[in-house]
């Protein structure tokens, strides 16, 4: 019973209302579980998610994903209900190897940004080259949006789809920034 109460009581800071400036959907993501994994070797996998993919890429799918943010750092996202499972499988998958797996489900807030001009919108504050060659679907990196740090993940799709992850206390700023950026690119 406690488990149920715990799951349902999570209050996300941005709500779930979608904005659509310039045809780009800006949609706060629903509750997810996220973990920071730190380990120095890239062998094997964790709960079926691979560790040995190149730095600045994401593997898995929209529901279960692992983004390699640095040589020994991964950000992992799984559905809320799989949080315990992930921790359990990590314990066995990584047994005997020095590592750190820290639950940051509540630290991070996700915002999905989708639309033909999504890269243009993000480039209002993100200084990276988001072109097809430099940042194709499957890319993921920590970077900046205006004056906030974000993790930017590009997902596969017919039109550009991005996940912006930021820390909870920056979520209002990041969300407002994205909406303002939408107005800034105009209708053209």
């Amino acid at each position: 019973m406690l488990e149920v109460r715990y799951r349902t009581a999570r209050t996300l800071p941005l709500g779930r209302v979608e904005a659509r400036p310039a045809g780009v959907a800006i949609r706060p993501a629903e509750a997810e579980a996220r973990f920071v994994l730190r380990i120095r070797s890239t062998e094997g996998e964790i709960a079926g998610l691979p560790l040995n993919r190149p730095i600045n890429t994401v593997s898995g799918d929209d529901r279960r994903w692992i983004a390699r943010l640095g040589p020994d750092e991964w950000l992992i996202g799984v559905p809320e209900g799989e949080a315990d499972l992930l921790q359990t499988s990590a314990a066995s998958d990584l047994a005997g190897r020095a590592h750190s797996l820290v639950d940051v489900s509540n630290r991070n807030v996700g915002i999905d940004v989708e639309g033909a001009r999504a890269d243009e919108l993000l480039n209002a504050g993100c200084p990276l080259d988001l072109g097809e060659a430099a940042f194709p679907a499957g890319s993921a990196t920590r970077t900046l949006l205006g004056k906030a740090e974000i993790v930017l993940i590009r997902r596969a799709g017919a039109q550009p789809r991005y996940r912006v992850e930021c820390w909870r206390s920056f979520a209002t700023y990041v969300h407002d920034f994205l909406k303002e950026a939408g107005l800034g690119i105009g209708e053209g």
Partner: protein, 996 residues
């Protein structure tokens, strides 16, 4: 509706779309496609401003961004008024209200023009030589007078309702300028499929082609070629063509800044679209094709309205379909102005051409013009002009073979087009730190050695022939995009070549001649010569002494003339005098564009905790702490800060208070070497700290001064839950990572920020245990099982918690760490459960008072980056047995081990218990000593203590611990007050309550 100077046909204006705007309250009729300047000229208006110093009547000199004189205030509606707009650049649109500047009472009759009579006194640098006596008069009389006279337009005073946008962009090839050169470059680069951005400051791409309707390219009219080229580029996905976009800054590593004007030209503010957009482009390669600027001729009274640059006359005729006058004299020292005369002639103007060059030095252009029926006077100089608010005649004279001037002749006219040759726009090249090279043949500085991945082409490097520009542009575009494609353009020939001229030869008394070099700053050739005479010989000195080239046009038309005059005066070659290093921006850029969306709430992130909304709805007042907004105090109706804090303080000590400590930084330190790492980073010992126990950690910088502090819990053998100060969170994590990665990569430790994973609810006061007891599962809260400075895991309200038994108040206390998304629910549950116990929410101010009553320091308040552990009485925290930790060596420095003189933390009890000292007040032993006084230290914290029923203060005082019981004197706003030195703990001095 009459536009008496509008030609009956021609130009790129849209005659089907008439518009009306205002100039000085008078309606001005024009067409879509006009600039304010072209519409004014169409209506016969040339007088548009008064000069900066002498208030001389000034007109429109140019058709472009180099315009120095025609600066207008433009009003686009409420809050949308700004000064110093170049009439030649502002696109005319319905509803604009424009005004001339720098005159009183009116443009036509300006009292300030009296300065013109005083011009013999107001020479370059005159203010350095006077206004010094009497001394007081500088601040009260002279300077206010100078200031009132200075400045051009009036600054906006209202907040700006417009929006500004920012865009980072990347491309393989960035092309600056969409004239023939830039477009040819774009064609070449675009075909490779590489990403191309081409930007042009004008509203319409085409550059010089827009006013050259008779030119031909590859066998068709230039206008047709232009349309085809634009259609070609437009059809390509890989090309972004940006009109109205000025490339203004060339920074490191091909970072190029551009300002796009998005809506100013639109008839009405376009909904929510931004006014301007800053583009920050990172380009693989840059092609600079920004063209060239024409030089004015320097002769007496060369500044009368109606005197324009020659090419600008042609632009007004051909592009805008307006005649700058009926009777035109073209004065030149080069060939390009002959085309102006030809076009003017065919537009129906009376034209005379005066050329300084000897007939033998001229090309076929002379014959061509004469064949067209225009009088051409070669070997003639211009010695002056006639007129007042409009030129009425040009005074010319032949130059004899001995260099003297022959008989003067006045050519009646209402318009002059002058050309002293051309200056390539090397601004961006110079900004890129490329090295300029002086080209004698071109009489100009041209791009020399590149410093970044860029190349110049066309007029920007001194190539003026149309076919050559196209070929150079194409080659540059191909090279920049790695293409080997070549193309040889055919185009009609261009008249090029000029004879350099600094000051036109004259027969007048040089002391009386006022020939302007810098129009806007009213700098004459005479001023420049004076500066050189006074020993200012570097061009930078001359610029600064005379202010030439320092006006809003940044000397685009004047720099080469000024440089030439200095070189002539010093009898040196031009490059020996030096040239200016160009700096951004190329043309002025609004602050708004540079700020972009970073205004208001987006200026800096406002970080809030999950309890923020609750605090707001419970009436909290907030304070800014670093980026966070924290609840400061919770006033009830009628309470001020002091009343609320007094109530909150009492409530905590007598019952229970609840405080949002979520902003504390948190770091999860994990790994086999975690304890060893902690040992190296903190002064304290960690190896023996038991799991489930906490320790107050103190961290130093390598210089021995306190960096941060916070409670650390050992979660397990290989895991520490570290807390930091609110403002120190990022700093501490960075500090730890630095040492971990760079000094001790052998340590197996991983750091993860959990500041925002855990919200922290501090529950403090004797009844704290009673409140949470019913809510907690899995933790034995009894004092024996869960002592002070312990940490347990379990659940509270069904939510997993790391429950700390710690206290920053000296009371029994808990810091309840729960996952952030659950914090509000838990907070509300605790608040509800606490009602029977009188639970009281408190803010940061009460937190400060309570900890001060106990003498607990706050890093950043008791410490200021120059304080050691011993200074604040925390030497006992330092592990005695550790050989090393960060900062340890510095604690052995002579100044730190000095036996006297260190400032030490003490308490202060004012003799008047009601008096609360000012934080920051200074402390002396003898208030009657002469100034400068010897200060012993300062008050770091000071409050009214409701629990002590008196004021209390903490202070850092030299050798303070030896002064217990002594009286010191503390500054107050009115003088001094007395206080007694005490131990820095005021309440529960034995520290018993925390163990309750």
């Amino acid at each position: 509706m009459a536009q008496p100077f509008r030609l009956s046909r021609g130009g790129r204006i849209d005659r089907s779309r008439p518009i009306v705007f205002e100039f000085n309250g008078r309606p001005i009729h024009g067409y879509q496609g006009d600039t304010v300047a072209s519409a004014l000229i169409a209506n016969g208006i040339h007088l548009v401003g008064r000069s900066f110093k002498y208030h001389r009547p000034r007109g429109i000199l140019s058709h472009g961004p180099d315009e120095p004189s025609a600066l207008l205030s433009v009003d686009r509606g409420p809050g949308r008024v700004d000064p110093n707009n170049r009439a030649s650049v502002v696109e005319a649109r319905a509803g604009l209200r424009t005004k001339s500047q720098n005159h009183w009472p009116s443009l036509e009759y300006d009292i300030g023009a009296v300065n013109d009579l005083l011009s013999p006194v107001f020479v370059a640098g005159f203010y350095y030589k006077t206004f010094m006596w009497p001394r007081k008069f500088w601040d009260r009389v002279y300077e206010p007078f100078i200031r009132a006279a200075a400045g051009l337009g009036k600054a906006p005073t209202q907040a700006d309702p417009d929006r500004y946008a920012n865009r980072h962009a990347h491309c393989d090839v960035l092309i600056v300028g969409a004239g023939p050169t830039g477009l040819a470059a774009a064609l070449a680069a675009a075909r490779t499929g590489k990403r191309v951005i081409i930007a042009d400051e004008g509203p319409e791409p085409g550059g010089a082609l827009l006013h050259d309707p008779k030119a031909e390219i590859d066998g068709r009219l230039a206008s047709e070629w232009l349309a085809e080229t634009l259609a070609d580029l437009d059809a390509r996905e890989n090309v972004i063509l940006l009109p109205r976009t000025t490339v203004f800054g060339y920074y490191n590593h091909n970072h190029v800044a551009m300002a796009e004007r998005v809506t100013d030209h639109l008839p009405s503010a376009a909904g929510q679209a931004p006014r301007e957009r800053l583009w920050q482009v990172r380009a693989g390669e840059v092609v600079l094709a920004g063209g060239a600027h024409e030089r004015p001729l320097v002769f007496a009274d060369n500044d009368r309205p109606g005197i324009l640059l020659a090419e600008s006359v042609r632009v007004f005729l051909n592009r805008y379909g307006v005649a700058p006058g009926n009777r035109l004299v073209v004065a030149t020292s080069g060939a390009s102005a002959y085309q102006v005369a030809l076009d003017a002639k065919s537009a129906g103007l009376d034209v005379t051409l005066v050329d300084l060059r000897l007939e033998t030095d001229c090309g076929p252009e002379v014959t061509r013009l004469r064949q067209a029926g225009v009088e051409v006077l070669t070997g003639h100089t211009v010695v002056g002009s006639k007129g007042r608010t409009r030129v009425s005649g040009l005074i010319v004279a032949p130059v004899e073979s001995n260099g003297r001037c022959g008989a003067r002749r006045v050519i009646a006219c209402d318009c002059v087009g002058m050309s002293g040759g051309w200056t390539p726009a090397v601004h961006l090249f110079s900004q890129s730190r490329g090295k300029l090279r002086y080209d004698d043949g071109l009489d100009a500085f041209v791009p020399g050695t590149s410093a970044q991945a860029e190349r110049s082409a066309g007029a920007a490097k001194g190539t003026y022939d149309l076919a050559a520009c196209l070929n150079e542009g194409f080659a540059a575009g191909a090279a920049a995009s790695g293409s080997s494609e070549t193309h040889s353009f055919g185009a009609s020939a261009t008249l090029t070549g000029f004879q350099p001229v600094r000051v036109m030869p004259t027969d007048a008394d040089p002391k009386k001649v006022r020939a302007f070099v810098d129009y806007q700053n009213d700098v004459t050739a005479k001023d420049i010569k004076l500066a050189v005479r006074e020993g200012f010989q570097s061009i930078e000195h001359v610029k600064r002494y005379t202010t030439t080239g320092m006006a809003t046009d940044q000397g685009k038309t004047s720099n080469m003339n000024a440089l030439g005059i200095v070189a002539g005066q010093l009898d040196k070659a031009l490059p020996a005098v030096g040239t200016t290093t160009f700096r951004p921006p190329y043309t002025p850029v609004t602050f708004g564009a540079l700020v972009g969306p970073a205004r208001h709430a987006l200026f800096d992130p406002i970080r809030t905790t999950p309890i923020h909304g609750w605090a707001e709805s419970h009436g909290a007042t907030f304070e800014n702490v670093a980026l966070w907004r924290r609840a400061w105090y919770f006033p009830k109706a009628g309470e001020d800060l002091h009343a609320a804090v007094a109530r909150e303080c009492k409530a905590v000590r007598e019952g229970v208070g609840i405080f949002d400590a979520s902003t504390l930084g948190k770091i999860e330190v994990v790994g086999p070497d975690a304890a060893e790492f902690m040992n190296r980073m903190y002064v304290n010992p960690w190896a023996k700290l038991a799991n489930g126990r906490c320790r107050y950690g103190l961290m130093l910088k390598e210089d021995g001064y306190i960096l941060d502090d916070g409670v650390v819990a050992r979660v397990s053998d290989e895991c520490f839950h570290v807390t930091t100060t609110t403002g120190g969170a990022a700093r501490v994590l960075g500090h730890m990572e630095d040492y971990l990665q760079t000094e001790w990569p052998d340590l197996q430790v991983f750091l993860t920020s959990t500041t925002e994973q855990w919200a922290v609810i501090a529950l403090q006061g004797p009844k704290a245990r009673n409140v949470i007891e019913p809510l907690v599962d899995g933790i034995d809260l009894s004092p024996d099982a869960f002592p002070h400075m312990a940490m347990r895991t379990g659940t509270i309200c069904g939510v997993p918690t790391r429950l700390f038994r710690v206290s920053f108040t000296g009371e029994l206390g808990f810091e309840i760490n729960v996952p952030t998304d659950h914090a509000l629910a838990v907070w509300e549950a605790i608040y509800a459960a606490g009602q029977p116990h009188g639970i009281t929410p408190y803010g940061t101010e009460t937190m400060h008072v309570l900890r001060a009553e106990k003498g607990y320091i706050i890093v950043g308040q008791e410490t200021d980056g120059t304080v050691t552990p011993d200074d604040v009485g925390l030497a006992g925290m330092i592990a005695k047995t550790k050989v090393d930790f960060v900062g340890k060596r510095s604690l052995a420095r002579p100044d730190v081990v000095a036996t006297t003189g260190r400032k030490q933390l003490i308490g202060l009890m004012t003799e008047d218990p009601k008096l609360v000292l000012d934080e920051g007040a200074q402390i002396v032993a003898d208030p009657n000593q002469p100034i400068p006084m010897r200060m012993l230290g300062h008050v770091t914290s000071s409050y009214w203590s409701p629990n002590c029923d008196r004021s209390i203060a903490l202070a850092l005082v030299a050798d303070g611990r030896a002064l217990m019981g002594k009286t010191l004197h503390i500054t107050t706003p009115d003088g001094f007050t007395r206080a007694t030195v005490s131990e820095p703990v005021f309440f529960d001095t034995k520290g018993e309550r925390v163990n309750a």
